[in-house]
């Protein structure tokens, strides 16, 4: 298994190189650079040329690319063209909120999806099965951004339970250590800030969790249906095991494999959903940052954002592979 993981890890830099090169090229193939787009109205030709020279945009594309790669291997993603802030610092600021949002959303969607999928198969009640199926097709059809706004109208505007936007209350004092607030606020014992943080996190994560739970419920249902009809489940029942143990210990272990695969893929969808959700909730994460970069055609921001997304996605797939090996003993020894 270790050699297999090493083989996968060798691919990591290759994938990152391919993604960053593709992004680099694609951004420059399209006419118009960020300086021209943003500064066209306020600068004359000679000023534009000066600014382009500062950013190296007047050099031949091969030289720009070599420069970009040599910086990249040193972990230097350059400066944001619109603000001059180092991309690395922006990633430190923006990445933790998105990862926290993605993980909590994944937990919500897995929890709701798996429980309702299992319920629709194992509780022999057609009304439950029918409502789970209807709810999951509804979940697939609801636009994420609209669900977010409806939740804001209900819980923030009408009921006043939750804030409408942001990551933490404006007047709240807290120390930044890792910028993963979940860790920072617990480590410093700052419970007042922690409460504000949780109230800000609940609506965005419920929005993503609810809309992606439909997929999970559908898949769990079909995986469980298949497993529950297999011979070893009949054997487990014949041995006189409790139904609870048959379902959660025997059936779930096999049904888990397709669910984990789906959740690995869902993680990417959640990152995509984060772009939209962060916009709805003015949540200061990678998605909102990448979107601003796109709208301003800021090369450095888009490159940095896309490389980060690719990295997160590849690592998530690696994690899915590791989980596979943990859950399915057949994969641990290929000769088996």
């Amino acid at each position: 298994m270790i050699s297999y993981l090493l083989k996968r890890l060798i691919w990591l830099p290759i994938v990152l190189w391919a993604v960053s090169s593709l992004t680099f090229l694609a951004l420059r193939i399209v006419p118009g650079n960020p300086i021209q787009t943003v500064q066209n109205q306020v600068m004359d030709k000679s000023q534009l040329a000066q600014v382009e020279a500062v950013w190296g945009l007047n050099r031949p594309i091969t030289e720009q690319y070599a420069n970009f790669l040599s910086k990249l291997v040193r972990g230097d993603l350059g400066l944001a063209m619109s603000s001059g802030v180092p991309i690395r610092r922006m990633i430190f600021e923006r990445m933790p909120p998105t990862i926290e949002l993605a993980i909590v959303s994944l937990v919500i969607s897995t929890g709701i999806g798996v429980l309702s999928g299992v319920a629709s198969v194992t509780i022999r009640n057609r009304a439950i099965d029918y409502s789970v199926r209807t709810a999951s097709i509804l979940g697939l059809s609801l636009p994420l951004f609209w669900v977010g706004i409806m939740l804001i109208i209900l819980f923030s505007v009408k009921l006043r339970w939750t804030p409408t936007s942001g990551r933490i209350g404006a007047g709240v004092d807290y120390d930044v250590i890792t910028n993963f607030m979940f860790y920072d606020l617990i480590a410093t014992g700052n419970w007042q800030a922690f409460g504000s943080y949780l109230r800000h996190l609940v609506l965005p994560s419920v929005t993503i969790g609810l809309t992606s739970a439909g997929f999970v419920a559908r898949l769990t249902r079909s995986a469980m249906l298949e497993v529950m009809n297999s011979d070893y489940i009949r054997t487990a029942r014949a041995k006189g095991l409790y139904e609870r143990s048959v379902i959660w210990k025997h059936a779930m272990r096999n049904a888990m494999l397709p669910i984990i695969t789906l959740q690995g893929l869902q993680f990417g969808a959640i990152l995509g959903g984060a772009v939209i959700t962060e916009r709805v909730f003015s949540y200061p994460g990678m998605g909102a940052w990448l979107l601003d970069g796109i709208l301003e055609r800021d090369y450095s921001v888009v490159q940095g954002g896309i490389i980060f997304v690719a990295l997160a996605y590849v690592l998530m797939n690696l994690l899915v592979d590791i989980l596979y090996h943990v859950i399915d003993p057949r994969l641990r020894n290929p000769s088996f």
Partner: protein, 286 residues
């Protein structure tokens, strides 16, 4: 009691087996018709402002109320399907054409071409479609045309994989061998024998992709990567309506509701199509 429940259940089963799909198709056809006839059907000009009637709640005169400029929300919703639906249809049909061509080329020719094309498709497929679409708009720039290109591009591998998987089974069919021994050309075999046989699953896939495309297009318009601000468009209307959640929460409610109904009707229509045209897919459950 048991017999009664049984009868009720059988009626319910019949309804679900046939009528929900039909109902979905009818609702979607209705939405399409309204969208095409928007300028005839809409009670008001979607851009006409009326400063004497701002933030009006739903009434007989303005069934969906009015927005911050006094524009009629119903008329804007009626016009608002055009950008999203035209982008979605164009994207899905282009992806279908390109993807099927790629899949047939790979599956029929085989060898290194097949390997190269399918590896490329795998790489594209490994990225979730919404994210791939956002990244494509990121490089191409903002605009409805680029949104269409991005959605279509992201869907190409779905059709390519499906087409290839069908072609590689059809190539070994006896009637294809018979046609070849009679001296039919490759193009003739593909056109007359392979394409007609792969249409049902492709159509099923296209209807599922249409639902995804409508969702993606409205999301991209919502985050401002598609249509210009102020355009009557379901996604953009929700985005601009979000600023009114305190003064006029009805403004973002209606366009979002219409997106949901549209996507839901396409999904139910697609499920019905799948059950009738391609019972094999049904067992996969997704």
């Amino acid at each position: 009691m048991g017999a009664e429940k049984n009868t009720a259940w059988r009626i319910g089963a019949f309804w679900r087996r046939y009528d929900i799909a039909l109902l979905g198709g009818a609702i979607f056809a209705f939405i399409l018709l309204i969208t095409i006839l928007a300028s005839v059907v809409a009670p008001y000009d979607p851009m006409a402002r009326n400063i004497r009637n701002l933030f009006a709640t739903p009434s007989a005169e303005n069934p969906f109320g009015t927005d911050q400029l006094g524009r009629d929300v119903l008329s804007r919703v009626i016009h608002g399907g055009r950008p999203i639906l035209s982008a979605s249809f164009t994207a899905v049909f282009s992806a279908l054409a390109v993807g099927t061509t790629v899949g047939v080329a790979g599956g029929y020719v085989g060898g290194w071409l097949d390997t190269a094309l399918m590896r490329l498709m795998d790489v594209m497929l490994s990225f979730p479609s919404i994210l791939l679409a956002i990244l494509i708009v990121a490089t191409l720039g903002v605009g409805l045309l680029n949104v269409t290109v991005a959605i279509g591009f992201a869907m190409v591998p779905v059709f390519a994989r499906l087409a290839r998987s069908i072609v590689i089974t059809l190539v070994y069919e006896e009637y294809v061998a018979a046609a070849r021994s009679l001296g039919a050309s490759d193009l003739h075999i593909i056109w007359k024998h392979i394409l007609p046989n792969m249409m049902p699953p492709i159509i099923v896939q296209a209807s599922a992709m249409l639902a995804v495309a409508i969702g993606t297009a409205s999301a991209l318009n919502f985050i401002g990567l598609g249509v210009e601000p102020g355009t009557p468009d379901w996604g953009m209307m929700v985005a601009e309506g979000q600023r009114l959640i305190f003064d006029a929460p009805h403004v973002p409610v209606f366009p979002g509701l219409v997106i949901t109904i549209t996507v839901l009707s396409v999904n139910y229509m697609g499920d019905g199509l799948r059950d009738h045209l391609d019972p094999k897919l049904r067992r996969q459950g997704i």
